[in-house]
């Protein structure tokens, strides 16, 4: 019995971290209508940045947030500005510019293999003060770094929700996502919004990276499994919805952890896909998605 309780809580903790890795993806899609296939690679870049920061300075790993998140914000900002924007301009009239998907895939190949060239194929684990620290309750064990991660997810989710719903910039972001030309006529600088949104999406990966590094390993293709998971999560939650992404992540975490108590871990992977297709059957727009978007 206690095993199940432990599984449920662990599932929620890990699930919210999955949600966190997917938030950036959903944000970028929501505005730019682009699936960012380089998402996992950007997470990888963030993890390397966090890893090196923590390893070289030896400080508390969460201090890396203050370095990695701005770094990834600007990384994303300029990536959009110099690489993605020109392609976007060519596809101006198309709602979901598919060529941009290929470009992000190109970025994915370049980043992952650049990391391989620079850092080698080695697996690295950062040794930090929180690594391996457990919270023990009634013979149940929870990793502190996951608990902190879940907390960070919640805070980021609330912040992003507020940002998009109520801040001036957030509303401009939504306006741009709905009608780019009309937004321009309101004095909203479309390309800047895109840069910012891409930067924000990447910054979210930076947050996820800092949360992962204390208990996870880093290597050049570390983003790939998170990538596919994030795809499933954002569709489950409804593309473009931040709360949806977090909830979707938690569902995946629960299926993975609780499901595994009843069947082999390989089957839970399968179960995730079955559940996913089932949700698409009954609610094609995902749990929080808008009907207009599918």
């Amino acid at each position: 019995m206690i095993g199940y309780v432990e599984s449920v809580i662990n599932g929620i903790l890990m699930g919210s971290i999955y949600g966190l890795t997917a938030v950036g993806l959903t944000l970028i899609f929501g505005v730019m209508k682009v699936i960012n296939f380089a998402h996992g690679s950007i997470l990888m870049v963030g993890m390397f940045a966090a890893y090196w920061f923590v390893t070289l300075t030896g400080v508390n790993p969460y201090l890396a947030l203050f370095v990695v998140v701005p770094f990834l914000y600007f990384f994303g900002f300029y990536l959009q500005k110099f690489v993605i924007k020109p392609i976007f301009e060519a596809e101006k009239d198309i709602r979901e510019p598919i060529t941009v998907i290929i470009v992000t895939t190109g970025i994915w190949y370049v980043l992952d293999n650049l990391a391989l060239l620079l850092f080698g194929a080695e697996f690295r684990v950062a040794k930090t003060v929180v690594s391996g620290q457990m919270l023990e309750i009634f013979d149940m064990y929870f990793l502190w770094s996951k608990i902190i991660g879940a907390g960070v997810t919640l805070l980021l989710g609330i912040y992003l929700y507020w940002f998009l719903r109520h801040s001036r910039m957030g509303k401009a972001v939504r306006a741009t996502s709905l009608d780019r030309e009309a937004a321009t006529l309101m004095g909203i600088k479309q390309t800047r919004i895109y840069n910012i949104v891409f930067g924000l999406g990447c910054a979210c990966c930076g947050v996820a990276a800092c949360v992962l590094v204390p208990f996870y390993y880093v290597y050049p293709t570390v983003g790939v499994p998170f990538d596919i998971k994030a795809f499933v999560i954002v569709v489950l939650g409804g593309l473009g919805s931040v709360p949806g992404a977090i909830l979707g992540g938690i569902i995946i975490g629960l299926i993975e952890t609780v499901g595994a108590q009843f069947m082999a871990a390989t089957w839970t992977e399968m179960l995730i896909y079955v559940f996913f297709l089932f949700v698409l059957f009954v609610k094609p727009s995902g749990l929080f998605g808008l009907k207009q978007d599918y």
């Binding site: 001036r168 509303k171 401009a172 306006a175 709905l178 006529l185 309101m186 479309q190």
Partner: protein, 237 residues
């Protein structure tokens, strides 16, 4: 000095040129109508002025500065607002949020409250529907939001592209009245592109007639109403 003056403007879409040597000027405080048949290039002219399409040659100067190379979003900040054809609302945002976006530029932010009240006074229906998503409004309601959004930007010069399109006769009258009131109350200069000649010429001071991308006629509104060519071509009399 004119508020807006356009000199020998040539513009188009990619390879296709649709405006040929267009010259005109708008004085401060005027209401000027631009009329012309379908495809005459009226909307394109407005787009060229507001920076949505880049001129091939010629100049657009607004308040004495050449703005033909200034990006569209920057032009708004300078006080030149374009309310486009076909409403172009932010469909998944509420009426209120749409109006808020109208006031996005930094000049308009300060007077947001006052302008909002004005808009609601002008279109009480919008006050009722504040929280409704724009995509679920009827055509006429959407047109009100579009105009309201323009007012929210607190422009020096507002260009309206076919504001009465698709409106019920009773509303049409209201819209033209509203345009006139905006011009007077806010001291806003207005460029009005319209198919409804009778109504638009009735409220405007001067008018330009466009055909095939060129200005073919200009003059006092009242005079144009009696011009035989205009009568034949646009009033169907």
């Amino acid at each position: 000095m004119s508020l807006l003056s356009i000199d020998k403007l040539n513009a188009g879409y990619g390879e296709i040129q649709v405006l040929f040597d267009v010259s005109l000027h708008i004085n401060e405080g005027e209401i000027v109508s631009i009329v012309g048949g379908n495809g005459a290039g009226k909307s394109s002219l407005l787009k060229a002025i507001s920076g949505l399409i880049k001129p091939m040659s010629g100049s657009v100067s607004f308040r004495g500065e050449n703005v033909s190379r200034v990006p569209a979003d920057e032009i708004v900040t300078r006080g030149l607002v374009h309310v486009p054809e076909g409403r172009r609302l932010f469909s998944l945002m509420t009426v209120y949020e749409n109006l808020e976006m109208g006031a996005y530029n930094r000049n308009a932010k300060a007077n947001f409250k006052r302008n909002l009240e004005e808009v609601y006074a002008l279109f009480p229906r919008l006050a009722e529907r504040q929280k409704q998503l724009a995509c679920t409004l009827s055509g006429g309601e959407q047109q009100m939001v579009a105009i309201g959004r323009g007012i929210m930007a607190q422009p020096k010069l507002m260009m309206l592209d076919e504001p009465s399109l698709g409106l019920a006769p009773v509303l049409k009258k209201d819209i033209f009245a509203a345009v006139k009131r905006i011009a007077i109350d806010y001291e806003t200069t207005i460029v009005l592109v319209e198919q409804d000649l009778v109504n638009s010429l009735a409220i405007s001071d001067r008018a330009y007639v466009m055909e095939q991308g060129q200005v073919v006629l200009e003059g006092e509104s009242q005079m144009l109403l009696t011009d035989p060519h205009v009568k034949a071509a646009y009033l169907g009399v």
